[in-house]
Symmetry: C2
Subunit: 333 residues, 2 copies
């Protein structure tokens, strides 16, 4: 059978363009003994991928030019010549942006979907959801009654972070771009929504939303949001840094917050984290999230892009703010 | 009796000048019942005072114009009309830059000098020493075998931090300005000394001193040192921020580190602290430090400025790098 895939054609400069990617086709021959053939259903697009499209030193190796974009994917076993996998099984892999692939069993994780849709396992019940959970509970250590500020609050991580922070008993302030997103934040229960694109003065807007300051900032974007959060942090505030997407397409490094010195006077802690270091939480978290979704306690709103050829556009939408929730590439029937 | 004092004459713009201060004289009449009269011997000058010379919001109230500069001081009781204090007792207070003062007992802390010189109780065995100790043990949580980078390493806090980090079993890299200070760092036992004034490329110099990276950075200065530390931090590195003196005289806020995004990929923690929040450690720490000084395990090299009229110059020397260790104002005889 033939399977299409997306390869990295050139390294992006600034905002990635569809021309940085190319569609290729590979032939899958007869399935080897001991291998499993998977048809992908949902492909993940994530901000961290931007960094790996660049060459040079980083915390992970750069993506290879001409090679398939790796990344998380949810698929269904089409054929199996390995013990433990049968046609119809749902699996998660790092196979990336391809329609189908053959893999050794060790590269596949069988998923019990626990009654929720499979795409959640690269979303609310997958790494993005766990990022929100680990950032709030292990890094920021949110306590009931605290005020939590969350940027990119309608995004894949931010949207879940808002709702988990509410469950933890916090007052939640979410920031997102545009009136539609701000309205959505109110629907998912945040106490105050900031449409940062409509605000001339983001620190002032945060000050109005949190007149007594914030205890926690869950940072997805860096830049002016981080500076505003430091300005309004209360003593012993914590800033959990999940990402700083505002700088990912910059051609030169952007300066950090001009008010960083306030971390001394206010005894603030700014801590970055990788969800990869918190995967011990995943089994318990995924089961809990499946229950929350079934009970309607967590509401998701992801954006589906149909067809492997749409993967580059879905990825680029992460940086243009065109998506609600997670941009997910959906394949086949 | 008459006592001279230093008052804030005007708020400094940029680097403070002696013209921002004025010498005044006050008359102490007959000592009131229940009060204690103290002759100061040693006055503390500290970087944090710069922030409080400015007007505007901060974590502590600004110093009053025309009022005596408050600050820690070590004195000797000259006369007492209060129970528990007798002439000759050594006391620590926040009385600030004055030759003598009358105080209620509650404003005085009687000091057992434990066989070391009294000035150490505003230095190695006082808040600066405790800043080093708390920053290394409570904030950075240094472990044996780790590599620790310390800026302003010949200063009041940095010099003690270098030696305590060695006791904790760390490899220590100190940075200071000028060959004399760098040579001093080697004498107090640091493993590698950087004369940052002689380095064109501070990150490269740190890379040579710590080819495998650093686990902890004890920050006294902010600015390029902080950026270099982030660049060379190993995964799960910790940055304890005691101060950011490089920006204290800036007329506009300085940008933060351009590589702050690395805190995500390397899971770094940057945490500011105030020693005021760690005073529970002081009694045990002071006793331990007195033992270390007597045993020669901690070496101090402070700079004495004689006479109350020298307090402004002593303070200004904090920002020009003219001092070794702590600039201490010493008052007669």
């Amino acid at each position: 059978m033939m399977a299409r895939e997306i390869v990295l054609a050139s390294r992006p400069a600034g905002l990635p363009a569809v021309q940085n990617f190319a569609l290729a086709e590979v032939r899958l021959g007869a399935l080897a003994d001991g291998a499993v053939r998977v048809r992908n259903r949902y492909l993940s697009t994530d901000p961290y991928m931007r960094g790996r499209m660049m060459d040079g030193p980083g915390y992970a190796a750069p993506f290879g030019l001409g090679a398939r974009i790796p990344g998380r994917a949810i698929g269904v076993v089409a054929e199996s010549r390995a013990a433990g996998f049968a046609p119809g099984d749902t699996v998660r892999s790092m196979a990336g942006w391809c329609e189908a692939f053959d893999a050794a069993p060790g590269a596949l994780e069988k998923i019990d979907t626990m009654g929720i849709e499979a795409h959640h396992f690269i979303g609310a019940a997958g790494v993005p959801g766990l990022s929100a959970y680990a950032g709030l509970t292990r890094i920021a250590r949110v306590k009931a009654g605290e005020t939590v500020f969350i940027s990119a609050a309608s995004g894949a991580v931010g949207g879940i972070a808002c709702q988990i922070a509410k469950m933890l008993g916090a007052r939640v302030i979410g920031s997102a771009g545009g009136p539609e997103k701000a309205a959505h934040l109110k629907r998912i229960g945040v106490d105050a929504a900031i449409d940062y694109k409509a605000e001339e003065d983001l620190p002032a807007a945060l000050g109005r939303a949190a007149p007594e300051g914030i205890d926690v900032y869950f940072d997805n974007v860096g830049g002016p949001h981080l500076e505003a959060a430091i300005a309004h942090a209360r003593p012993f505030g914590r800033i959990a840094v999940c990402g700083m997407i505002s700088g990912y397409n910059a051609s030169a490094p952007l300066p950090g917050p001009r008010n960083l010195v306030q971390i001394v006077g206010k005894s603030l802690r700014i801590e970055g984290f990788l969800t990869a270091n918190h995967m011990d939480l995943m089994p318990g978290f995924a089961a809990e999230m499946a229950g929350w979704i079934k009970a309607g306690r967590i509401v998701t709103r992801d954006t589906f892009h149909d067809g492997i050829e749409e993967a580059p556009a879905a990825f680029i939408s992460l940086f243009t703010g065109a998506n609600f929730g997670k941009p997910i590439v959906r394949i086949g029937p």
